[in-house]
Amino acid sequence: MSVRFDVRAFTVVVLLLVAALAASVVLIGTGDFPIPAADVIRTLLGNGDAGQEFIVNELRLPRVLVGLLVGASLGLGGALFQTISRNPLGSPDVLGLGQGSTAGALVMIVLFSGSATQVAVGALVGGLVTGLAIYVLAWKRGVHGYRLVLVGIGVSAIVTAVNGYLITKADLVDAARAVVWMTGSLNGRDWDQVWPLLGLCAVLVPLVLGNARGLRMLEMGDDVAYALGVRVERTRLLLLVAAVLLTAAATAAAGPVGFVALTAPQLARRLTRSPGPNLVPAMCMGATLLVVADWASQRAFGADQLPVGVVTGVLGGVYLLWLLVTERKAGRI
């Protein structure tokens, strides 16, 4: 098997990683007790003083790690969904996975006034059940990408209505809590959220990348992929399960942070200018996007004032617009 080395894609991945790490360091230094970047790095390497060590390692590092992992999971999940459904709008946001998780979380918040852990479990269950329901309902001698998207939209509409109903039924305090959760937030995330997510990514990311070749073939259509020796349905099921798990776990950890899954693969594809699923660039893009957004929200509105989901929406939207305008000037669209 020949391996084509795409210099531009490689450069983009490296640059995105550098950006993500730099933003992480700056983000760790940001807060009510600012720490200079040099001190952050020294503390991370294990040479800081006790006070800084506590703040960095116990309070801010887990939050940043959750941000990186959630962003990467959403970016990868989004890229998988968009490739399998062959539609740039076929992201988990659109397919209703986010809404499914939200429904699970809302049930916990509104009906049981549950704790943060219960809400996370509810979100995870909600997301997985929704993913399963979409797959089963879309199944008909195999899952065709397009049917998947349409069924997902149907399921999404139903669940969104249920969510709207739950929110109108909640009292105002629960409703406010629900809205913050639904926006997606990194506030108060600690090591308890990092480990499960990290473990899941450690299993799923290699699995997905190992099947990337099959995915690339799938993009050419089922028949071609079949002729090229890809087990179409098995590959698709495997990748879909991975995408659902990634998205549901990310959502359980941070709430349905909007538009990362939708925009990260699009942005990555435009930066690398290479066809195909662009899985790794999408993953790096998601992580960068989320951490930069969290930093921006802390800088612009003060520590923990506004959840990161607000900023990912605005940032992602503005960047997408900017891309549209510049690409048009360059005559590429």
Binding site: R86, N87, P88, L89, V94, L137, A138, K140, H144, G145, Y146, R147, V149, L150, V151, I153, G154, V155, A157, I158, T160, A161, V162, G164, Y165, I167, T168, L172, A175, A176, V179, V180, M182, T183, G258, F259, L262, T263, Q266, Q305, L306, P307, G309, V310, V311, T312, G313, V314, G316, G317, V318, L320, L321, L324, V325, R328, I333
Partner: protein, 347 residues
């Protein structure tokens, strides 16, 4: 690549055989009859039970009795439901044809986001609290965003993908703003959570008068676009060869869809899904010819909307479920059933 399998190019240059046309025309009349029945049900059924006699009395010999007042209220609600339903279905059908994407709905082009952002601004920064006060804000928001999407989408050179991406981008930015306001302002949250589910309950004659001119203009425009949009379904090059004015058609379609959906959203909040679903249902028995899809969508969307509204009043008496919730819970399974039933090649 936005579309997996674009709507099949219609072979409608030659008129359909008369029998099929007759069947379709008959079907349209049957649909109209169903619509009338649903509208009557919408007037007769509600928290206060009325006999048919009272309904008749209220409709034609209004003398100000309690029953007459109830009928009057339900009448404005029904009329608004008719108008809004038709507008949503039409705008959905036009947008799906324009973007050649069966997933296109008014929400995709940022219209819901624009209206929502404008309403939340009105509540928080201008202290507007009445629903008839929201209307102009919502409409302005929808119109501004619609125009913005069109220009960012490339105005004259707009392609379906660019329009959809521009809509998504603007929605993303606006929802960020919306959530920021709702998180920081509790008063806005307490109002917005009821507005965003979409309801006909607050319909008054004032609202109807406010949005009627826009809906009328939009409907006429949309129906007139059936033929050029048919040509565009065959692809840009073919359409151009057939003498279609691509840019003009795109601009007018955007305008029609924005006006229709903007006015509908202004009147009763973002009711999702009607605009997405009804054109799909219609297409399953009319085929891809927009000259049939558009009229059918105009008639059948209000059937769905009013039917859902009536049901919402029946299941939760004496309170009611908002129509936006019922349409989704009712329409979702039907939609999934349709998607499953049809061969994928037709999607």
């Amino acid at each position: 690549m936005l579309v997996d399998s674009p709507p099949e190019p219609s072979a409608e240059t030659a008129p359909a055989p008369p029998t099929r046309r007759a069947i379709r025309a008959a079907g349209l009349f049957v649909s109209l009859a169903v619509l009338v029945l649903v509208a009557l049900a919408s007037i007769a059924i509600g928290a206060k039970e009325l006999s048919l006699e009272q309904v008749w009395h209220g409709l034609f010999e209004d003398s100000g009795t309690y029953g007459d007042v109830v009928v009057g209220e339900r009448l404005s609600r029904t009329v608004l439901g008719l108008l809004v339903g038709a507008a949503l279905g039409l705008s959905g059908a036009v947008l799906q044809a324009l973007t050649r994407n069966p997933l296109a709905d008014p929400g995709l082009l940022g219209i819901n986001a624009g209206a929502s952002a404008a309403v939340v601004t009105a509540i928080t920064f201008f202290g507007v609290t009445s629903l008839s006060g929201y209307v102009w804000f919502a409409f302005a928001g929808a119109a501004v965003v619609g125009a913005l999407v069109y220009f960012l989408g490339g105005s004259r050179g707009a392609t379906p993908v660019r329009l959809a991406l521009a809509g998504t981008a603007i929605s993303a930015a606006l929802y960020g703003y919306l959530q920021a306001v709702m998180i920081t302002d509790e008063a806005a949250l307490s109002k917005m959570r009821f507005w965003t589910v979409g309801s006909l309950a607050s319909a008054t004659n004032t609202t109807i008068e406010q949005v009627l001119p826009f809906l009328a203009v939009g409907t006429v425009l949309a129906l007139a676009l059936a033929r050029p949009l048919n040509a565009m379904a065959m692809g840009d090059d073919t359409a151009r060869a057939l003498g279609a004015h691509l840019n003009r058609t795109r601009g007018l379609s955007m305008a029609a869809a924005t006006v229709l959906c903007g006015a509908a959203t202004a009147a009763c909040g973002p009711i999702v899904f009607v605009g997405l679903m009804v054109p799909h249902v219609v297409r399953s028995f009319t085929g891809p010819d927009l000259r049939w899809i558009l009229p059918y969508a105009t008639v059948l969307s209000p059937v769905l909307l009013l039917g859902a509204d009536v049901l919402g009043r029946m299941v939760a008496r004496p309170a009611e479920l908002q129509v936006g919730i019922v349409t989704a819970i009712l329409g979702g399974p039907v939609f999934i059933f349709l998607v499953r039933r049809r061969r994928t090649a037709q999607l």
